[in-house]
Symmetry: C2
Subunit: 351 residues, 2 copies
Amino acid sequence: MVREDLIVPEGSEGRSLLSDVAEATRLAEGPEGVRRVIRTVLRRGPVPIRDVARDLGIPVPVVAAVRGELEQRGLLTRGAGIELTEAGVRAAEGDIGLKCRRVFDRSTTEVPQDLAPVVAALDDLSERRPAVDPSLDQSHATSETALRRAVYLYEHDALEGRRLFFLGDDDLTSVAAGLAARELGLGRLDIDVVDIDDRLVQFVNQTAAKEGLPIRAFQHDMRIPLPAELMGRFDAFFTDPPYTLDGLGVFVSRGVESLVAEIGKQAFVCFGRRSPEETAGLIDRLLRSGLAPVEMLPTFNEYVGAQLLAGQSQMIRCVRSDPGRATVTERYEGPMYTAEFRKGRSRGRTV
Amino acid sequence: MVREDLIVPEGSEGRSLLSDVAEATRLAEGPEGVRRVIRTVLRRGPVPIRDVARDLGIPVPVVAAVRGELEQRGLLTRGAGIELTEAGVRAAEGDIGLKCRRVFDRSTTEVPQDLAPVVAALDDLSERRPAVDPSLDQSHATSETALRRAVYLYEHDALEGRRLFFLGDDDLTSVAAGLAARELGLGRLDIDVVDIDDRLVQFVNQTAAKEGLPIRAFQHDMRIPLPAELMGRFDAFFTDPPYTLDGLGVFVSRGVESLVAEIGKQAFVCFGRRSPEETAGLIDRLLRSGLAPVEMLPTFNEYVGAQLLAGQSQMIRCVRSDPGRATVTERYEGPMYTAEFRKGRSRGRTV
């Protein structure tokens, strides 16, 4: 599969179907919630309404209201469970961009056997990628972690048919996502990556070109606001930011600005576990950026080599809860990377 | 094992050892962090320092500082890994109250085979317990969930050698914890339960008396501040509160007041998944009560029967990040249970 197969601009019909149903049902989860109902039925149908509600964490009567609207439009039908009609499958596969019906076990930490080639390919790439630059708080996730992140993104509907943004990507998670998408035969996918490290930007672009992956990387210093063409256009962002709370705050705020201004758009934030006080500060920064954490997995990410945080960090999955917010919108002048904090004062627990 | 074996007031020596080491190392995790280092070494030793750091989410150099202090006191020794000395084991088993060296797989959702009798006992009890009162937002967790909660409390160091508080307990999780503690041969444990439903209070007390469990239940309406003797004395609290954000806020705030005024004390909050906006409100209420979420597991809890939220809710594990806070300290006059909101206005998404 080559890049052209994957990148197709999202159809306006798909978006207006989702928006129309969300409005008709006054759905607190917005168009994203409607999309999730369709996706769950596509992947699991025929499926009892109760199972759709469980899968999405949306109350049964609310899912029933969405089902009613989709039935009226001839996209859903009821029998032993809910099922997409032919028109429903066409809408899902067409404008919405959903093709893959694979369901992964969300609680497993093992690499699915058929995706093992992706891990091997990442291992191969990691021998040739730029060396770690500790002044930029770089530290490489393992190939298994990069692949597990890709599966996690897919399973939480941030990959297939999506515009996905990476703020920093020395872990090559974007490449893992692109390779996994190809392996799984996913529908269209459009990934943008920004990183301050030009060596990495070049490596990602070269790899994408060689493998035919739908990834574009740009050099960008996150202290500077994002260019206009990257603002307000993504369905989800992923970041494993600098290790300081200030660095996290800047990256997350830029990430929020990159998202479509709609409730329910997702953010995937990887960050080391902290002391109780710093954890409160971390969560507060997410909330103030208009992101609500919905899942926190303390030991999700594994890194290569022995580090201060013993080679692990947490995965925090968030949903956009307030489409108006982003805390840092101007140029940021303060310190952001661990090394910058070391210059000015003792390290303390900023790492 | 009878109640007298389990309830022993926590030794002042244990507490001062933990506080002394926390102060000497200026540990951001406080005495709780020192306790966790000792517990991890007891359960896993001899263990590499890196593994202790991973287990606790505390940086390696910080764990090394704690190790140094414990070595100086003759409680720890270094060989292939860190290990408790005989004096260390005595301190752990004595004043700190840690006896059990069992380590459970944190990611598994299965009931450990040797604890299956606890599930059977809970099944038996659930046939005789008071019927659900929906006006109090009661809804019974399954016996498997009650047992898994007990294991989760143990694994996260909220059970053995602890004073544990339940704000509401129509799920009988306190009984599950008591039975599991007996089955595992845990050191002392002291559980207090308050619930507005006197039928339930009587049932818990009768069960505790019959089974010889270290549980005392009291009738209490959470709108009213806790009695003085329950304030500031617990190591952790557990609650599966009313389904409204206001109800959650009151329960959590009372829970925070019940905790020892020390950073790192834990809160276990079960709550249905919500819309993005309500999730932000939920997390904000936790933060404003001085609790930082450290783990969020969206589908941890399963309930009996078909409910609005399709019989599942999330587990949010928090640590006390600010020993001074609790948002609701006076008598609370507002509505708290779902039915009270239904009276005044349409239900909307308060459920």
